[in-house]
């Protein structure tokens, strides 16, 4: 990114010190998913630390997202970051139409010369989580509450299932769909039903609705797990694991690179190997103490599985590639 670009943008900023301007354009409203909140935090933090002007723009629906993307291009931001599969279509178009503009996308890959993409192999972490559940369950029934029965969430459910079956082929896997990303009451009912069907571990994979799963766990003394950040700190007795995904770090790094001039286009893909995804206690330590339900012995086994995935001894199938 050359100086000429910053000069253009200076006209828009109040100070005239030619601060770089970076926009994070989200395809949805931020509150829909913890994942966006986390990303925004990393984005804002980097903005402050590296003296870059940051602007987060939410969109209420796909059409609004497209309009926001185009308007942001028109408003001459130096870098436009966006995220998730939902953004692919629009980004492909907009980036192609504006070859001299810089873009970045988080959580999926768009292979264009002016786009930097960072994808995640969540299914590897899901595999670990599923294995953890399979190793720990006493009732041989484990459940998962997912937001919707859509391909996107197969990254969680299919990986989980593979992991579960690999360590405990006899275990029964229950899955329930909330039908919405923010209906904790319904998610709680689903978790209660799975509890009624004998599950002693119910994984949450329903974005904001997970809070309902956590509550069910607390109420019925179930074990559960969270997503994206370390949720075990909220209730270590019941939320015993958390599947991690470093979206905040990626947003932070992207801004940092851009501010320092080390920003490069191209694609990157983060899995267990790159430490982009993970599982608490296995790939990363947690502030909370390990639940006896999981137990140190299992953690040791899981660490081995992690190493096998990294070394390629275990190949986790990408659920989206069929």
């Amino acid at each position: 990114s050359g100086g000429s670009k910053s000069e253009q943008s200076a006209s828009g900023s109040e100070s005239g010190t030619a601060k770089k301007r970076i926009a994070l354009v989200l395809p949805e409203e931020i509150g829909v998913n913890q994942f966006f909140v986390q990303m925004d935090e990393g984005f804002q933090k980097a903005g402050k630390e590296f003296g870059v002007e940051t602007k987060t723009i939410q969109s209420s629906d796909p059409t609004a997202f497209e309009q926001n993307m185009r308007a942001t291009v028109a408003e001459n931001y130096d870098l436009i970051i966006t995220a998730t599969f939902q953004a692919e279509d629009v980004l492909k178009q907009v980036a192609q139409e504006n070859p001299d503009k810089s873009f970045a996308i988080i959580d999926t890959t768009v292979d264009l010369p002016n786009v930097r993409s960072v994808g995640f192999r969540e299914y590897e972490a899901s595999y670990l989580l599923g294995a953890a559940a399979g190793l720990s369950t006493k009732t041989n029934v484990v459940g998962m509450v997912a937001a919707q029965d859509v391909p996107l969430l197969k990254k969680y459910s299919e990986g989980f299932k593979q992991g579960l079956e690999s360590v405990n082929p006899k275990a029964k896997f229950l899955i329930g769909y909330v039908g919405s990303f923010n209906d904790p009451a319904k998610a709680k009912e689903l978790a209660l039903v799975q509890y009624g069907q004998g599950a002693d571990f119910v994984a949450g994979a329903s974005a904001t609705s997970d809070l309902g799963v956590f509550e069910a766990a607390k109420e019925k003394n179930l074990y559960t797990s969270g997503q994206d950040t370390d949720r075990t700190v909220e209730d270590p007795d019941h939320i015993v694991l958390s599947q991690l995904k470093g979206t905040d770090a990626v947003a932070y790094e992207t801004v940092k690179d851009f501010a320092n001039g080390s920003f490069k286009f191209g694609t990157a893909n983060y899995g267990l190997k790159e430490d982009g995804v993970g599982l608490t206690f296995v790939t990363k330590d947690s502030e909370s103490k390990l639940s006896p339900f999981i137990g140190e012995a299992n953690i040791t086994k899981l660490k081995q599985i992690r190493d096998d995935i990294v070394s390629g001894k275990i190949v986790v199938k990408n659920p989206l590639e069929q």
Binding site: Q58, S60, D61, P62, E66, Q67, N68, D149, P151, L320
Partner: protein
Amino acid sequence: MNAIKRTLLGMLQPVVAVLIGLLAGAVAIILIGDSVVDTYREMWNGAFGSFYFLTNTLTRATPIILTGLGVALAFRAGFFNMGATGQMVLGGLAAAITGLYMPGPGWLVMMMALLVGMVVGGLWSLFAGYMDARFGVNLLISTLLLNYIASLFAGYMVSFPLKDRTGSAAMSQTPMLATDVWLPKLFSGMSLHAGFILAVLAAVAIYIFIHHSVAGYEIRMLGNNPFFAAYGGVKRGQMMVVAMLTSGALAGLAGAGEVLGTQHRYLDGALASADYGWSGIMATLLASSHPIGTAIAGILLAALQTGAMGVERNTDVPLEVASVIQATLTLFVSARFGYLFLKRRKERKNNGSVV
């Protein structure tokens, strides 16, 4: 003279309402400590600030106008059709399927896709009408319920049988349509597509139909007083079919237009999450089911929405506050200040004795 006076008075009402709405919105902005002037300027810019943003607004108005017209026609016939969302979703899905799988030259596929979208939307709406006419299943409730059913069904279709398996294959969506099937853009580099022309034509056509055609007359009378219509030999069943079919077809066209003109594929949730259906109903009600009025109200509502996006992008006022302002404005736009104000003054003038 009188006609001019009446038109002016008719315009006064919405103007006063918008002013009060802006005032109420200003209170919201002051409460969060932002500049009222800046916020409204950005709102205006986001909606009409340049030719580009104007076309954005018109793009967004297109599905609102079309669903609104459909709702208006059903209302006129006395059918409270709240099912625009479901009809739109199925129309969009059908258009996408046609666009993907029908062989033939692009323009023909495009036309067929629009047509199939209309037919499917129309049939879905007619289904509700049929249950009402034949089994006495209340239309208001059934159309609301059918929205959920349609959305879930379409969600299933694009999550499984019709799923896009190209690319990352993570989204619940159909594959992308071939470019020659897309509705042409009206101006290069802008989002406005030919669907807007269709919406304008539809508004004019529905206006002529409702106000000047015999069938439209019968539909209006049916809506006004079904007994009178029956007495005069209006065939309720036939008119119901015409009204519900057309109403659903317009919603279906709205969905097909979005699919062929904007998203270029059917994307799960894209039509429902934008609340086009509810906006269409609001446009109709604001215009008392007048087709041309519905089109204007549709543009107004779209402008409020694109304006809110402008506020989101260019001020520190967050999106939710922008939507509060938008809701406040619509809330007051339908109020009848002008009317009350005038009526009271007139009464005072005419009836001297009134205290």
